[in-house]
Every structure is written in C-alpha cells, then in structure tokens.
C-alpha cells in the first residue's frame, strides 16, 4: 500500500508543484501573489480538451500548442488587467481573486458539468512493485522534470531569463541599465500561465475536467509554494511533492475524510518552525 500511496502522491505533488511554479514566477518578479493561478490551470485543462477534440493532436504537440496559447493569454491579460493592478499588493490580490471568479464562470457557461478528457497519454496501466497506475502518471513526472530543467536553463543562459532575474532583484536598477521592465513582467505572466496550463493538460486524462477543478488545486499549489519557499523554484517543487505525498499517506493511514486536515496541520507546524519555507530565503526589504 505504501508504494501506491507514495507514487500516487508524487504524481499529484508534481501537479501542485507545476501550478505552484506559476505563483513563484510572478512572486519572484513582483513580490505579489496571483490568486487566479488555480483558474489558469483550469483554463489550461479546457484549452487542452478543446484543442484535443478539434485538432486530434498527439500528446507532445498538444502540450506545446496549449502552452503557447496560454503564454499569449498571459501576455494579453497582463496588458489588459494585471498591469493596472500591480501598483499595490492589496489591489492585486483582490483583483486576481476577482479574475479567477470571472474565468471560472466564463467556463461554467460553456461547460456546466464535468467532461471526460481524451486519453492523450495512453490508457495502459504501469506496475511498479505492488503499485499500479496509469501511464499518464509517468508523463506527469517526466514533464515536471523537463519543465524545471527548461526553466532553469532559461533563467541561467538566456537574455530574457537574465532580464527576469534582474527585474526580480531590483526593477528600478534593471530599468536604468536598459532592461525593458514592462516586457519582462509581461513575460513573467506569460510563463506562469504556460506552466499552469501544462499542468491542466497533464491532469485532464487522469480525472474529468470541470470549471471548479482549479479552486482546490490553486490553494494547494499556493501552499506548496509557501511551504517550499515562495521565492525558490526548487523549494516550490519540493513543497508540491511534500504536500502531494503527505495528503496521500494521511488519507491512506490516518483518515481518508480528513486527509487535507492532516496534511495542512503538518504544514502549519513546519511553517511555525521555518517561516520562510523549506528552501526560502529572507528577502531584505529595500528602501
């Protein structure tokens, strides 16, 4: 039973981690939390559903197309909505919560009930020891690894990535040395949308997709980011995996109805012990 709970938890944890990366990306650049992140994940799942049904794309091109659309959507929404909100963190929080509710209800108009997602990653069952799970789990884990490597490479080796880091460190100075701050922030939102949308496509075939699927995942992904250290990419990944595994083990060994309670109680204790998260660093307040 342990294998099953552990591996299942890892896969769910990867989803929390990838959605959590969206929180981390925006937070590193703006020091602000985008509470519509869970809904972006949901939008990604529906983009995947519609694209898969219309275009009959295989898994990899589908992931690529959906992340490209989501990236563009993130850039557009940054221009139309986020840019007008991020002058103050309070406004940004309330604004993004509102945006999340709008996104949820727009989807609800078109898809009032749960919809089955095509099995784009195959429907074979893989067996490791006594644990059995769908092929899709393997995709979830591998895609998470690939995403982390790609993001890391981008931040380290590309011009855009260096610009992102410069703006994250100090937007004003980055601006004076010639970094286009507005474009870099737009890029951040594009990226955060793209990763959340990929998570949506990955989870689609495992469950049904529904307009409310982003609410709980968004909450857990946010917790993953905070738990791991919201300014740290490896921290967020670790946080996601920890929550995924913890809630599954709690559900299997302690109480299935209260698995969230158990997982989050542990989380609370950890945060009291380490307020900046597992791998987070204190960020000095600049004056």
């Amino acid at each position: 039973m342990f294998d099953q709970l552990f591996i299942g938890g890892l896969a769910t944890g990867c989803i929390y981690a990838v959605v959590g990366l969206g929180f981390t990306l925006v937070y590193r650049t703006l020091r602000m939390v985008n509470f519509a992140q869970g809904q972006v994940f949901m939008i990604g799942a529906f983009l995947g559903l519609v694209t898969a049904e219309r275009a009959h794309l295989p898994a990899l091109p589908l992931l690529f197309v959906v992340s490209a659309i989501a990236f563009a959507l993130g850039m557009v929404l940054e221009r139309l909505v986020f840019r007008r909100l991020y002058h103050s963190h309070e406004v940004f929080i309330v604004g993004t919560i509102g945006l999340g509710i709008v996104l949820t209800n727009v989807v609800r108009v078109f898809f009032p009930g749960p919809v089955p997602f095509p099995k784009i990653f195959g429907s074979h069952v893989v067996q490791i020891g006594t644990a059995r799970f769908q092929e899709t789990y393997v995709w979830v884990v591998i895609s998470t690894l690939v995403l982390v490597v790609l993001l890391h490479a981008m931040f380290t080796y590309t011009r855009a990535g260096r610009a992102l880091r410069a703006v994250a460190a100090d937007a004003e100075i980055a601006g004076t040395v010639g970094v286009n701050v507005n474009r870099t922030i737009a890029l951040t939102f594009g990226l955060s949308f793209a990763v959340a949308a990929i998570a949506g496509v990955l989870i689609g075939p495992l469950y049904f997709v529904s307009f409310d699927m982003g609410d709980m995942v968004g909450l857990k992904a946010f917790s993953a980011a905070v738990f791991g250290g919201i300014n740290s990419i490896p921290g967020t990944i670790l946080g996601g995996l920890a929550i995924g595994v913890l809630e599954n083990l709690a559900g299997g060994y302690i109480s299935s109805a209260y698995k969230d309670l158990v997982a989050f109680a542990i989380l609370l204790v950890m945060l009291i012990w380490r307020p900046t998260g597992l791998l987070g660093r204190d960020m000095p307040v600049k004056v």
Partner: protein, 376 residues
Amino acid sequence: MKIGKLVSAVGMMGCMAMAIPAIAQDIKLGVIAGMSGPGTSYGIGIRQGAEMAVKEINAAGGIKGRKISLVIADDASDPAQSVTAMQRLVNEPVDLVVGGFGSSQVLANMDVAERAGMPYIVVGATNPNITTNKNKWTFRVILSDSIQAEQIAEVAVKRLGMKRIAVINDANDYGVGNRNVFLARLKKLGIEPVAVVSYQSADKDFTAQLSRIREANPDGIAVFGTVPAAPAIMNQARDLGIKARFIGTGGLANEELMTLAPKASEGTVLTTYFNEDVDPEAKAWANRYVKEFSGSSQPPHPVLAAWEYRAIKFIAAPCLESSGTDKDKLRQCIGHWKGKIFGVPGEAYFDKTGQLIQQSVLVEVVKGAFQPFKGK
C-alpha cells in the same frame, strides 16, 4: 410560524384580488436544482422533466384555463447558494416548488420553504432527515436512503453472495446517511465490512482510499456517492487492479455513470428511482422524453426527469386543479394524495412525514445501460 401564516394569508389575499380582473393569471411553478456544478447532470434532468410536464399540461388547456409558467432557480449544486435560490422562488412568489437535488442542498433550502409556508415536493434528495415529523410543507417522492440502503445490503448478501464488503462514501449528508443505514443492516445480517473509507465531494484523486480498499481484498464495494466522483472512483479502482463488483443506491442512478466510466461501471447493481422497463407506460414516456430532448445541447438524463415529470403531472397538477393555489389547501391535498404512477409497481401514497411510500426498483448496468436486475 405566525409570520409565515401572515405572509401566506397576505399572499392569498393578493392572489384573490388579482384573480378577479385577470382570469388567466399564470400559475407559477418553481423548479430548484443544481444546473451547474457537480450536480449538473441531475439538475438538467429535473429541468427537462419539468419542461416536458408543463408543456403537456399547457397544451391540454392548463389548469382550469390557467397556464403554468416555470420559474427556474439554479443553485449551482451548492448548499449555501441553494438557500438564496429558494429565497428567490419564495420572493417571486411561486405557487409551489417541485425539484431539489442533493441532500445537503435540500436540507438547507427546505428550511426556507418551511418558514415561508411554501409547498415543496422534493424529487432528488434521499437523506432520511428530510422527511421527519418536523417538516410541514416539504414532501418527497423518491425513496429515502433508509429504504434504499437497507435493500441494497440485503441484495449484496443474499442475492449477490458478497462476504467481504468494502464501503466508500461521500462525507456529505447523502453518503453518510446511506453508509450508516447500510452498515447497520449488514451487522444484522452478520457481516462486518472489510474497509470503510470516505472522501470529500470535490475530491478528484481517490488513490488513498482505494489503496486501503485494495489491501482489504473485498468481493464487493458499496459506493455511496454521486456523479462525477462515483464514476471516477470506479475508473481508478479498476486502474489499481481492484476487480470487485460495485453496488450502490440512487446516487449512482444517473446515465452519466456509464458515460464517465463506460467499462468500470459494468455489472454495478443499484436501487434506482425509475427504470423504463418496469411497465409499458414508463417505456412510452422514456421514448417520448428521449425524442424530445436528444436534439438539445445536453443529452437526455431520464432518471430524475421521470420523477420531476411524474411529480408535476400526477401529484401537483391534480392538486392545483382541486385546491387552486391556496398554499395551505395545496399542502393538505398533496399530503393526502394516493394513486398509481407509471414506473412504480402498485399504489403509492404519502406517509405522515411526507414521504411517498412505494416499491423500489433494482437495476444492473449491462452493456452500458440500466436494466432490471435479474440475478438470483
């Protein structure tokens, strides 16, 4: 209560005053259910059943020359929103409400109906606490959990020969109500369950619960939940290599079960509210219903539609005909109603608690469709 009486008395005078000049004032029939959210497939069925019944009644000349108009309230399958939705129907004001899906929603919104003195016929919620001696205005036409869960326990042990039974239930009013009655009956039959686990309605991943069930190596699994969790549980159980047969009650009686879990739901035995093969009239109705709604964007969902249709056509309409829209007279008429309804073997009648007493129907999923259960 006093205020409730006063409100209904004022409402009544209002109606009488209006009735003199305007002869053909429409009768307003409220329909409440989740037409979005997890309960959508049930709620759409309820709405379609109401539309069909009202269309037929109006085409035949209405109730004493008065047409019926529908007032639809979507509660988004959420107990809190359900209270607001019922309040809206009360404020409209409608003459009576026929509908309601989900025990948690109905337990929340029946309170509003009770306080306002609004006749309310529940078609889609099964928790035993809905019909007790406390409800004066609320009636229910589908069987409560206490009857269904007992029956399925008997069937599991005596007819399906299950010895190692596992239970997975939604932690809401429906799931817990069913589980408790089911476990009590199992105990009387001398059987201890091998595993009892629960989940939250919005859960998507059931690995934790199902891993525990797999460890227990059951030969039967009782699923007390609704769509979409129930078919997700069935799919994931088969992925984990669990081969045990599923059993359940009315929560599973939804055609979406086979759409969302086409392979995994095969062989499931459950109590249901309606099956078209019970009698020829039921068959004829089901054909008419499917024909009427197959063109629309939502596929037809006959199970609760059948009850909504029958509650309006066989109970609400005759009472409106004999008692008019006086809420108190209407309530008394419904409470004393007895008669034959297609799809229900024998005569049905309301007991003192407002529960419609009837014989239940047992079905099995065979080749992706509900068919009368023919096991030993």
